[in-house]
Symmetry: C2
């Protein structure tokens, strides 16, 4: 048991955290097409944030953290799912999956950077729908990898 | 230029996105100690979400997406930083770095799962302060890695 330095953990559990999109996804892909690894999208950043992109072009890959805005309030209350809705998959807690049905409908995807032009960054491999609000991006480095990762058996069948 | 299927991109740019913590970080580490790769922390999930953890124990690693709540409004308006405040580093757009000074003060860290007990998950490698609100977790898989990633020269000196 890790001791906390502060009393009253969880007291602020009800407090809301307010975010504002830093940009939006632009893609011609629809439905399951967005999952195609070759899918090319643009991230159109807010113009007031263009300066904050300086230097991103020197990375080949970055993570995109986005808001899956098409997930409904009801879907965000789900506790368990069959991964990708497949009945041959076990029923699992949403946190053990990458489903969009989760309390905070945040998506996380590693993408390849193809180009930067002003406030527009073109990427490959972003599985987000057109119009998706982007919350943050993170340059990728080796510390984000676990070479020896273990995943469950069902995951390998996805 | 990717064509959008929808008109009016960016119209909702001002719209706020409201999140609620799914849990909180508990650690004895203070200051720079949290960056120690061996640092052990607990994530205490909200009790109403304990069920959503079912199956997480079968993964060795997962990403933690957290809210860097000690970042001030002023710091969130910064556009450029020297990585880790080091003057020997170039001045870069915040999105080209992993600084906490970013419009949405979101942190992303890959951690090793050590154990699960009810709504408490013990992890190694989480560089977040005691009391940090957690927004989401994502089981790690190989698709989150880029074996051939390119990073800038300054990054290697960090």
């Amino acid at each position: 048991m890790v001791k906390s330095r502060r009393a009253g953990d969880g007291v602020s559990a009800a407090k809301k955290i307010e975010l504002k999109a830093i940009g939006f996804v632009k893609t011609e892909a629809v439905g399951k097409e967005v999952r195609d690894k070759g899918n090319v999208s643009e991230i159109v950043f807010r113009e007031d944030l263009a300066e904050a992109l300086d230097g991103i072009e020197d990375f080949s890959h970055f993570f995109v953290i986005f808001w899956m805005h098409e997930t409904s309030k009801e879907e965000r209350r789900m506790m368990k799912v069959h991964p990708r809705g497949r009945r041959d998959m076990p029923l699992l807690g949403v946190f053990a999956t990458r489903t969009a049905y989760r309390p905070n409908a945040i998506g996380l995807t590693l993408v390849e950077l193809l180009g930067v032009k002003g406030n527009v960054v073109t990427v490959r491999g972003l599985d987000a729908f057109d119009g998706t609000p982007v919350l943050d991006i993170k340059p990728f480095d080796y510390w984000d990898m676990a070479e020896d990762a273990r995943v469950p058996e069902w995951w390998k069948r996805l």
